[in-house]
């Protein structure tokens, strides 16, 4: 049973990986990577890593891949010819490099002479790889790396906002094209793209001088402006 599951999941993982590389449209590459990640989660389950498998499916195949799909849709996945531009020479070199890398990795792992490598592994208890065990390890032995990882995530989130923001400000016409009920409840341009890029001074005077008194006087809010 385990063998059958291993070969099905392993072939799915390898086929998904090949699909990522050979698909010409980036959108199909992303979908191939999703199938690859799901197969890999099955392999993780075979290795008794239940929590990692669940995190893989939810975080990777769920959240990260949705981000990929959005960016591919935004950028516009244009087809590209497979293979390096320089021609057959570079293609042959990369094939040779790939084969050499595979042989080297197999030597490094399978030929390492580890005694347990030809066994199904050390016998482990029923709670091996459960969320409780992993959480205990994360909060005791690996507390520092856990905190560093959380800080890294924070930096990445801020960095993504800074990288993907709109530069050079927003035109006043574009800013004024959007009205919402929040216009009367908060200072003007709060939470807008103009505030994010520090372009508040480029807005016309009328949009930045809304006070609560004015908002009460004019119940229809920003629609008059």
């Amino acid at each position: 049973m385990g063998e059958v599951l291993f070969f099905v999941a392993g072939m799915g993982a390898v086929a998904g990986a090949i699909g990522v590389v050979i698909m010409r449209n980036p959108f199909y590459s992303v979908l191939a990577l999703v199938s690859h990640l799901l197969s890999l989660a099955a392999l993780f389950l075979l290795l008794r890593a239940e929590f990692i498998a669940a995190a893989q499916v939810i975080v990777y195949a769920g959240a990260v891949m949705v981000l990929y799909v959005f960016v591919v849709a935004y950028v516009g996945g244009q087809d590209e010819p497979i293979g390096p531009r320089a021609g057959a020479g570079l293609k042959a070199i990369s094939a040779v490099f790939g084969a050499a890398l595979f042989v080297e990795l197999c030597i490094a792992t399978l030929g390492s002479g580890l005694q347990l490598i030809d066994t199904p592994g050390t016998p482990v208890g029923a709670s091996f790889g459960s969320p409780a065990e992993i959480g205990t390890l994360l909060l005791t032995k690996f507390l520092l790396s856990f905190e560093i990882a959380s800080f890294l995530l924070l930096i990445a989130a801020v960095g993504a906002v800074v990288l993907a923001r709109r530069r050079g400000g927003v035109s006043a016409a574009e800013e004024q094209a959007r009205y919402s009920a929040m216009d009367v409840l908060r200072p003007a341009s709060t939470g807008t793209m103009a505030e994010a890029v520090g372009a508040r001074h480029t807005l016309p005077e009328a949009t930045v001088t809304t006070t609560p008194e004015e908002a009460e006087d004019a119940p229809t809010g920003g629609r008059d402006r």
């Binding site: 993780f44 990929y68 950028v75 390096p84 066994t119 592994g121 990882a149 990445a156």
Partner: protein, 99 residues
């Protein structure tokens, strides 16, 4: 199932990812191939964790997943910024990030 089989699958996936990084030109697909290589490393880490019967390799894999998520976020942010400036989405054309 013997641990060696998992390691062989891991090596194969890593090789495919490396070949993809070398041959593809779209930075989106190159990021995907980087994910493949990170996942292959994850599979090897978890296989070794199972082999030794300790869960520390699984914690390593979790941290690798965090790093991969950060890398994806920043990489996709750069691609979106490049696309905003109407530059070609092609690693052969993008030889410098300045400006």
């Amino acid at each position: 199932m013997d641990i060696g089989w998992f390691l062989a699958v891991s090596a194969l996936i890593f090789t495919i990812g490396a070949a993809g990084v070398l041959t593809r030109r779209s930075p989106l697909v190159i990021l995907l191939c980087l994910e493949l290589m990170l996942n292959a490393a994850n599979l090897a880490l978890i296989a070794f964790a199972r082999m030794h019967g300790s869960q520390e390799g699984q914690v390593f894999a979790l941290i690798v997943m965090v790093v991969a998520a950060c890398e994806v976020t920043i990489g996709l942010g750069i691609i979106v910024a490049v696309n905003r400036r109407r530059l070609p989405i092609d690693v052969d054309e993008m030889q410098e990030l300045q400006g």
